[in-house]
Symmetry: C2
Subunit: 421 residues, 2 copies
């Protein structure tokens, strides 16, 4: 299977050897060409020079290329490349929210008319698989609403403003310094990027055409530190939400900073994380939370689409999982677990017990992080000791517990629980 | 397309008119037979008597049935029905975690050998689309770990024990009373159900065969109220987690009650909710949160699989979304939004200002829920007033803000933000 890539962003993942894509598809998927603006520019990703081109035709007109991956961004010339690719019978995988928001339905129909697929998981939510889920797993639901945090830059700035009560300009500067905001941050802070993504989600959720202009937008630049102080006093966080809902068959689309109850899951989405809450007629509320952008999550979404496309071409439809399940897995015993432990003991209320217990733990190399001695029961002359250990291997803890259970003043081991942090 | 259903659970959803499945597939999907134990039993779902049967052959041997949906439960005779259905070239959709945990890989291979699909989204996580996501959207990732809360009964009991410091027996009785626990709760409280589900997830995540016996299990019946008290003191919640992780190519599978930091998302999954956290090599951590069981979520998952299967049969693969996007959506303006509002005003620090503002709001029928007067600035003689309104329609709020902006003592409208609860 031949592959052409428009834009250099995910080329490294496609050049890996062994190729994770070929492995998952069960058939070789070969990268044939990568379109860039400047072949001589130095790149962090080592692309063999023979693969680079600045001529789109070398991808769009190459009959050996079955699938085009677009990670170039912008609507021009991307939209035009899309049409040419689909019309010449090439499957398309894209990360382009702008083109999908502006021309998504037309392109999907064009793909269908040409008997090819168009996938765009990476266009919304990065590592959060919301596009595929709305199209497939949640397809039987009527969607009552989508409430989402789908711009990581904005969410990073708001999180900074909330934590440090910093002015907008300062939080924005910090975001730029860390590479989370572009030099011209308009698309992010004015909600344009989120409006593109919301348009894509609403189109899938409601099966109708929407355009970015349908989205009411309010940016975050007018927020001031005291808004965060007051919101907090009332028990709220401030988050830029992208919302789609439907009432009497009419849809409302909006992107704005809103107060969200602090104990609400959306109120706890911080930093560059994204989250999408879908309220479906059958599922009730389902929340997806993960990294919304960045190379890894975008690559995950693009390669996931690529694997799905290639599997479909190979008719690997029934498994749709790893092609061959290996015979027998190597499974580790519980004794190999390495974590911290909570141990509750019921002991005789007498001096020196704790020392004996600590020695039994120490003999197995387990050190104690903290101890509580509690609830002395006068009648039975017993007390409870609660121990939190430092990380240790479970097999040693099990052995220590055996010794502890045999200590004379230990009446009973109340509970041993692992700590998962 | 003909459909046979084994077990009565989702028949109602398949009998709806207009049929949401047919609508989403773009082609009639007709329910031909429903297999039950007792055709004469009264059911809350009205199934036309002609459709009911107690003879499995009427489904498995009917050449007009292309897809079999199984929601009967248990491994016997379900596993046998699966084999017969797949061998006679019927696609299969199932909610059966036990069969998938015990024979999943064999059945998937049997499906592939017979050129049909086997889908099982409903077997894990109910309304949470974790099965499909592991197979498709996350397919390009190496999975470092899965950490999940996948038994709603157990999580309900633990939530009760945590909130009320109730003994296990009492919380279990409450769960039974509400229909969340069966009369014999062993499968849930001893982690057997979770072990089945974890086996399914691990098989997909690692592409290897696992069996339920590979899962280390510890139930929740030994937990005592003081464990919750102590955990809370240390800043932890207690949750029954199902965990799969991999180290040096070896997998560890376990189900046990563990201490989870209270501020962690998994620590805040309460009641019958489920959650699955997947740590992928590309995506980082992705969290899914939703209802793990119950009729709605199970139906959502089963119908989602059914739509996917039927679309594939109809080669509706390129859109994989609503078949035809309707021309133009009806879109409501922002003025139609109905919610509560946060309004911050900068006003002259003089008597009677609040009364004027309240009147302007009252004139538009907007009532005030609470007011803060803050931060008097001595130099500029100005003060800040923060108002939280009761729910109101945005168009009225916008109009009130125009009037308020024109009030003489109002220097500036600091911000107006919506409250999303
Ligand atoms: N990075 C992320 O976090 C992320 C997340 C989600 C979605 N996306 C989407 O991915 C796309 C690209 O993002 P990015 O961050 O990878 O952008 P980028 O760093 O600017 O990379 C753009 C790539 O496309 C090439 N390119 C741009 N315009 C071109 C043209 N007219 N002709 C030929 N090649 C052209 C560039 O070539 P040169 O190398 O020669 O400059 C470069 O390789 C966008 O759609 C974006 O929305 C990115
Ligand atoms: N309900 C949920 O929340 C949920 C969630 C996830 C997964 N699931 C899965 O869905 C399956 C069923 O759950 P459920 O709660 O719907 O169970 P249920 O209420 O016990 O229903 C079982 C259905 O199957 C029929 N049936 C059972 N044994 C049969 C046999 N030997 N021959 C013919 N028909 C038989 C029953 O017929 P009668 O009507 O005549 O009794 C009934 O219609 C299980 O795999 C379960 O794990 C359920």
């Amino acid at each position: 299977m031949g592959l052409g890539v428009v834009g250099g962003g995910v080329a490294d993942a496609l050049l890996q050897n062994p190729s994770p894509v070929s492995e998952r598809v069960g058939r070789a998927v070969n990268l044939r060409r990568v379109l860039v603006r400047d072949t001589s520019r130095s790149r962090d990703v080592e692309v063999p020079p023979g693969l680079l081109t600045t001529d789109a035709g070398e991808i769009l007109d190459d009959p050996e290329i079955d699938i085009v991956v677009e990670v170039m961004g912008g609507s021009d010339p991307a939209a035009d490349y899309f049409r040419r690719a689909l019309e010449s019978g090439k499957h398309l995988v894209t990360a382009n929210k702008e083109v999908m928001a502006k021309n998504g339905v037309d392109l999907l129909e064009l793909a269908q008319a040409n008997g090819v697929t168009l996938r765009f998981e990476a266009s919304v939510g990065g590592g959060i698989p919301i596009v595929g889920c709305l199209m497939n797993e949640l397809a039987a639901n009527d969607i009552y609403h989508i409430r989402s945090i789908i711009n990581g830059t904005t969410n990073f700035i708001l999180t900074r403003m909330a934590l440090q009560k910093a002015p907008f300009a300062e939080a924005l500067a910090e975001a730029k310094g860390l590479g989370y905001a572009e030099s011209d941050p308009t698309n992010d802070v004015e909600g344009i990027d989120a409006a593109y993504k919301l348009t894509v989600l609403a189109t899938l959720a409601y099966g109708r055409r929407f355009r970015p202009e349908h989205v009411y937008r309010q940016g975050i630049s007018a927020l001031e530190p005291q808004d965060f102080r007051y919101a907090e006093e009332f028990g709220f966080a401030i988050k830029s939400l992208a919302i789609a809902d439907i009432q009497d068959g009419e849809v409302q689309l909006r992107v704005y900073p809103a107060l969200v109850p602090a104990e609400n899951m959306l109120g706890n989405v911080n930093g560059v994380y994204n989250a999408v809450e879908v309220h479906g007629s059958l599922t009730g509320r389902v929340l997806f939370h993960g990294m919304g952008a960045g190379r890894g999550p975008t690559t995950s979404a693009v390669l996931g689409d690529l694997v799905a496309t290639a599997r479909l071409m190979s008719r690997e439809t029934s498994l749709a999982g790893p092609r061959h399940f290996k015979e027998q897995a190597a499974v580790r015993s519980i004794g190999s677990v390495f974590t911290r432990y909570y141990i509750r003991l019921i002991v005789a209320d007498q001096a020196g017990v704790l020392a004996q217990i600590a020695r039994a733990l120490g003999d197995e190399g387990i050190s104690i992080a903290s101890v509580l001695q509690k609830d002395t029961d006068l009648e039975s002359q017993s007390a409870e000791i609660v121990i939190m250990t430092h990380p240790a291997q479970e097999s040693f803890v099990q052995r220590a517990l055996l010794s502890i259970g045999n200590l004379e003043p230990v009446r009973r081991i109340g509970n041993m629980l692992r700590i998962e942090e």
